[in-house]
Amino acid sequence: MNWDWLGRNAGEITSWTLAHLLLAGVPTIVGLVLAIPLGALANRYRWAYPPMVTIAGLLYTIPSIALFVLLPGLLGSSILDPVNVIIALSLYTVALMVRSVADALASVPNDVRQAAIAMGYRPLRRLLTVELPVAIPVIGAGLRVAAVSNVSLVAVAALIGVHQLGSLFTQGEQLDFYTPIIAGIVLCVVIAVLFDAVILTAVRLSTPWRRA
């Protein structure tokens, strides 16, 4: 490790770390927010479940680098625009989370649902205040997988010139120099662990009844 080099480039590494946090974090949140209504629909209307899971599976099959390259052509955006990365990763997150949300809602005990109906909850309020909270741990487990994948996927975008921690890898490759590569890997793992901890904490705080 060449610590001097790290010190001299601290400013750039910091801004790339922030970019990485943003490019991996925003799609995780956007994907979750979009997946909740879609997953609820797939759970409520069973006919909607197979096509949604099929489309989601198909999306997942497309390698990220292919999506990063093809989206600018479809959207008319510049290939260097970080928005391509955000849209691509949001699509992946939705694809993974639709199934997680639908399966999580399906795992809500029927007794709980019946009790809510008997107490006069209408469908929308029942979904928002009873079923979704009970489903949080399962949704959280899916979100952990999506978040950690996103951190790794963002790095690939360095190949098309969107700067974040992945740029340390292309830089190390060009300079034939280990220090930036090791720093990049360590920082990526730190971000993944951070995201994981944030999701675990959020699940724990939002489900106080599970600690009783």
């Binding site: 198909l58 997942y60 099959t61 497309i62 390698p63 990220s64 680098i65 292919a66 999506l67 990063f68 390259v69 093809l70 600018p72 052509g73 008319g76 290939i79 992946y92 694809a95 993974l96 199934r99 399966d103 997988v145 999506a146 950690v148 994948s149 951190v151 790794s152 996927l153 790095a155 690939v156 360095a158 190949l159 098309i160 010139g161 921690l165 992945g166 340390l168 890898f169 292309t170 190390g172 490759e173 034939d176 280990y178 590569i181 090791i182 990049g184 890997i185 990526c188 793992v189 993944a192 662990v193």
Partner: protein, 246 residues
């Protein structure tokens, strides 16, 4: 834009020769299949053993998850630099890329194998043992065949991971379809990049469908419900979704 990509793809000279579409697709498929086969040889015995004995589950699940957090691009570049210093020049970069492909294809196959074997109904296992099967026979003739649908979902995840990672391995001079993406970017030739991306996506989708079909044909008819009369097939354990990290 779509017209430009179409024009690139339908130019006859882009299909022939060492940098032609046929040659690049074949290279890409070779790297991917080699990596998946090596990963199978490593992951299936270990996964089967862990699922059968129930030992080491936490360790393997932890390791597989930790590996997911490692960025594939970083692994590729660091393996490539190391190989240039330590391996004969001619094979260094290819071996390094294949090693990373294997490393990333093992976790989904391993986790789905042990999850599939561990999820076998204990009553089925007891019945097999009650019929006088040895532990080895129970594993090979009962548990693994029942786990096969899940094992195949892992193989498909491993294949997709390999197709994607082989693409970005073009940055460390690997051949395959990733060349079009990387070279196209360097030459500022967007139609070339997009055509490469399209071909990679196609290879991923078609390969995934083919593997799914092979899996369906290999799985016992008693599990899929093919050729069984009136009896409902046993419910399959839900697939282990392992999105690619490349």
């Amino acid at each position: 834009m779509i017209g430009d990509i179409w024009a690139w793809l339908t130019t006859a000279s882009h299909w022939d020769g060492q940098d032609g579409i046929w040659a690049r697709t074949w290279e890409h498929l070779q790297y991917t299949l080699l990596a998946v086969v090596i990963a199978l040889v490593i992951a299936i015995p270990i996964g089967a053993l862990i699922g059968h004995t129930g030992k080491g589950t936490a360790l393997v699940a932890g390791l597989a998850n930790a590996l997911r957090a490692l960025p594939s691009l970083g692994l590729l570049v660091i393996f490539a630099l190391w190989s240039l210093d330590h391996l004969p020049i001619g094979i260094a970069l290819q071996s390094a890329s294949i090693a990373v492909l294997v490393l990333l294809a093992v976790p989904p196959i391993l986790t789905s194998t042990y999850a599939g074997v561990a999820a076998v109904d204990p009553a089925t296992r007891d019945a097999a043992a009650g019929m006088g099967m040895t532990g080895r026979q129970v594993l090979l003739r009962v548990e693994l065949p029942i786990a096969l649908p899940l094992v195949f979902s892992g193989i498909r995840s491993g294949y997709l991971q390999s197709v994607a990672t082989a693409t970005i391995a073009a940055i460390v001079s690997l051949g395959g379809l990733g060349r079009y993406v990387i070279d196209g970017l360097a030459q500022q030739d967007y139609p070339k990049m997009a055509a490469g991306a399209l071909l990679v996506a196609l290879l991923a989708i078609v390969g995934d469908r083919v593997l799914a079909m092979i899996g369906y044909l290999l799985v016992s008819a008693g599990l899929t419900g093919r050729r069984t009369l009136a009896r409902r097939p046993a419910p399959a354990p839900s697939e282990v979704v392992m999105p690619a990290t490349t």
